[in-house]
């Protein structure tokens, strides 16, 4: 790709028998914020470390701004990085921490001071220049980390689970702050996380990794609304899965037989009768109806198995058809008791079909 800022080309990294990155190819466009998302051990951190040069890939090449940097040592790669544990220099003040990359590059003193002030202003910490990291809160320390990473205007910004060590409320705030800073500077950023919420909220594109491979690449909407595999669907958000096989195909819709039900869904391109498919619904897409209401298409009787009150929503576990579990969430206004008979309407248009793999 011509305007790729970061490019992994068939990068493979093995640790003994474990393949951490398996022919990973990925390219991040200039000015884009891409998230590498996946469970722990999926290879996202290894990929990041290959990019920083901390880990040497066994095969494949890595390009930065069109230049092959596979054999360039870390300190010459011109990267900015924010670490999960902040990794600030504990023996230096905030000012010295942020000055460090400039000092290493022998910038003249007035310019250093100007850049450091700019960076500290960017993260709203100009009043803390003389503090030591241990005197700051977790969120402030991470903002220092961000300032240190950005102060010398690196080509790319790498963020390695930068919010995992912060408490939930702060995480939310910092999420927007990072997004805003990155957008304002227009810098290319690679964000590594296992938190799907962060990935969806922050990214221009999300790359979902599984067992060292790229599983799906797309915008947050694409990833959430049309996952290409059960793994992605399960990893992002809550999901219901129903195994079934195609019964009939009629133009845009098809009928799938599953658990003793015939469910109408959007037709899978090139679907044929008898094909095995996996139906997938989000819990908030399913409509919960009283047992005696009007019947319509895709409406099936169900029984309430378990309810959980979540404040703004009610979480129901239902049994449908000949014993399939279904989870759904509705607003908490009308409630159904455990054991009560109800009916559910499964979405027809917004029901995506994941191919069985």
């Amino acid at each position: 790709m011509a305007d790729a800022m970061i490019e992994f080309r068939d990068v493979t990294k093995r640790y003994g028998a474990l393949v951490a990155n398996d022919r990973l190819s990925l390219s991040i466009r200039r000015g884009e914020l891409m998230t590498l998302l996946g469970p722990s051990g999926c290879g996202k951190t290894t990929a990041l470390r290959c990019l920083t040069g901390y880990v040497q890939p066994d095969e494949g090449r890595i390009f930065l701004d069109g230049k092959d940097v596979t054999d360039v040592p870390t300190h010459q790669r011109e990267l900015g990085m924010v670490f999960q544990n902040f990794a600030l220099f504990p023996h230096m003040t905030v000012r010295d921490n942020v000055t460090f990359p400039l000092m290493i590059r022998n910038l003249p003193k007035p310019e250093r001071e100007r850049l450091v002030l700019d960076a500290l202003r960017l993260v709203r910490l100009e009043g803390y220049a003389g503090h030591y990291p241990r005197q700051l809160s977790g969120g402030q320390q991470q903002r220092v980390g961000l300032a240190r990473a950005l102060v010398y205007h690196p080509k790319v910004l790498l963020l390695d689970e930068p919010l995992s060590n912060l408490d939930a409320k702060l995480r939310e705030e910092m999420r927007f702050e990072i997004k805003e800073v990155v957008t304002r500077l227009g810098i290319t950023a690679m964000y590594v996380t296992h938190d799907q919420g962060e990935a969806l909220a922050l990214s221009d594109r999300v790359a979902i990794m599984n067992r060292g491979r790229l599983q799906q690449l797309g915008t947050p909407e694409e990833i959430y609304e049309s996952p290409n595999s059960r793994f992605v669907a399960e990893f992002i958000g809550l999901s219901n899965f129903l195994d079934g096989s195609v019964d009939t195909v009629r133009g845009e819709t098809m009928t799938v037989a599953t658990s003793g039900l015939a469910i109408e869904t959007r037709a899978l391109p090139g679907a044929a009768a008898g094909q095995k498919v996996l139906l997938f619904f989000r819990p908030n897409e399913i409509e919960l109806l009283p047992a005696d209401g009007e019947s319509g298409s895709n409406t099936f009787p169900a029984k309430v198995e378990k309810t959980t009150y979540l404040g703004d929503t009610m979480d129901y576990r239902l049994v449908i058809g000949d014993g399939a579990d279904l989870r759904l969430q509705t607003d908490a206004r009308h409630r159904y008791a455990v054991g009560e008979a109800v009916r559910v309407r499964l979405p027809r248009v917004r029901s995506w079909v994941v191919e069985e793999r």
Partner: protein, 278 residues
């Protein structure tokens, strides 16, 4: 003084008498021999069953300096101490790096081997060292005596510095690398300041051990390398208790100075740590 006042108040009010009595006895038990030496070193005509010396004098100190040749002996002790400190700390830095940062096969066994000189009775070990040093003509040289001291100082240095390097956060070094620092700059600007408390602790340990070392010195010293502990011991043999006491007091002074330094200056908690979480 505070303790004494609290003790008296305790007595008066009839509280904690047992506890305070125990504390006071313990203090006396620890301090009494030392007080004895101090009194002896400044007392004149202190014979028989007198509780305190009838006259005070500093003559014994003058004698110790002139006859006992204390300045020369002190110089020897400090030179040997300095060599031992430098050698042990250098060994400690390299070995500590290996122990603390690398995955070594058989790490525990290696550590045990390194600590072995401390486990063998000093006189046994010293005899072997002396035999080797006579062959190598290292006896009665500052380097030789210092080398003998290193065998007991280095294990401490290695132990302390291994722990220091273990506590060094890998991610901080990685961060320095990403910031553009090469290996040398990473060491100078990040590693060195962060392990400084460990180096200081190792130097203090090594110095006090070398300074106080007796057995190893006794078997490797010569006329040019008499150290303070040995000199004091020899003075005992000469039979002048007052001069010996003066020497013993002089010997304590640097130890007290070091204690003061440790308490005032070295605050490791100011240098390490520094991030929340993890």
């Amino acid at each position: 003084m505070m303790l004494l006042r609290a003790y008296l108040r305790g007595l008066r009010e009839g509280r904690f008498i047992l506890g305070y009595t125990l504390l006071l006895s313990l203090t006396l038990f620890i301090l009494a021999p030392f007080m004895m030496i101090v009194l002896r070193s400044v007392g004149k005509g202190w014979f028989g069953r007198l509780w305190l010396p009838p006259q005070l004098t500093l003559d014994w100190y003058r004698w110790a300096v002139e006859v006992g040749n204390i300045p020369e002996v002190m110089k020897n002790t400090l030179i040997i101490g300095a060599i031992a400190v430098i050698l042990s700390t250098v060994i400690g830095i390299f070995a500590g790096w290996a122990f603390g940062r690398r995955r070594l096969p058989g790490k525990e066994v290696l550590m045990a081997v390194i600590l072995l000189p401390r486990m063998i009775p000093p006189i046994t070990y010293a005899l072997g060292v002396a035999k080797i040093f006579y062959t190598l003509e290292l006896v009665d040289t500052h380097l030789g005596v210092a080398l003998a001291h290193v065998s007991v100082c280095a294990p401490y240095a290695i132990l302390v510095l291994s722990a220091t390097f273990e506590g060094l956060d890998e991610r901080v070094l990685e961060a320095a690398g990403v910031c553009g620092a090469n290996v040398l700059k990473r060491f100078v600007y990040v590693v060195l300041p962060l392990i400084m408390p460990g180096i200081l602790a190792s130097m203090l340990f090594s110095f006090t051990h070398s300074y106080n070392e007796f057995t190893l010195t006794l078997l490797t010293y010569g006329p040019h390398t008499v150290t303070l502990p040995v000199r004091t011991y020899l003075a005992v043999g000469d039979g002048y208790w007052e001069i010996t006491s003066a020497m013993a007091v002089i010997m304590v002074v640097p130890s007290l100075l070091i204690l003061a330094i440790i308490q005032r200056r070295a605050k490791p908690e100011k240098l390490v740590g520094g991030f929340k979480g993890v």
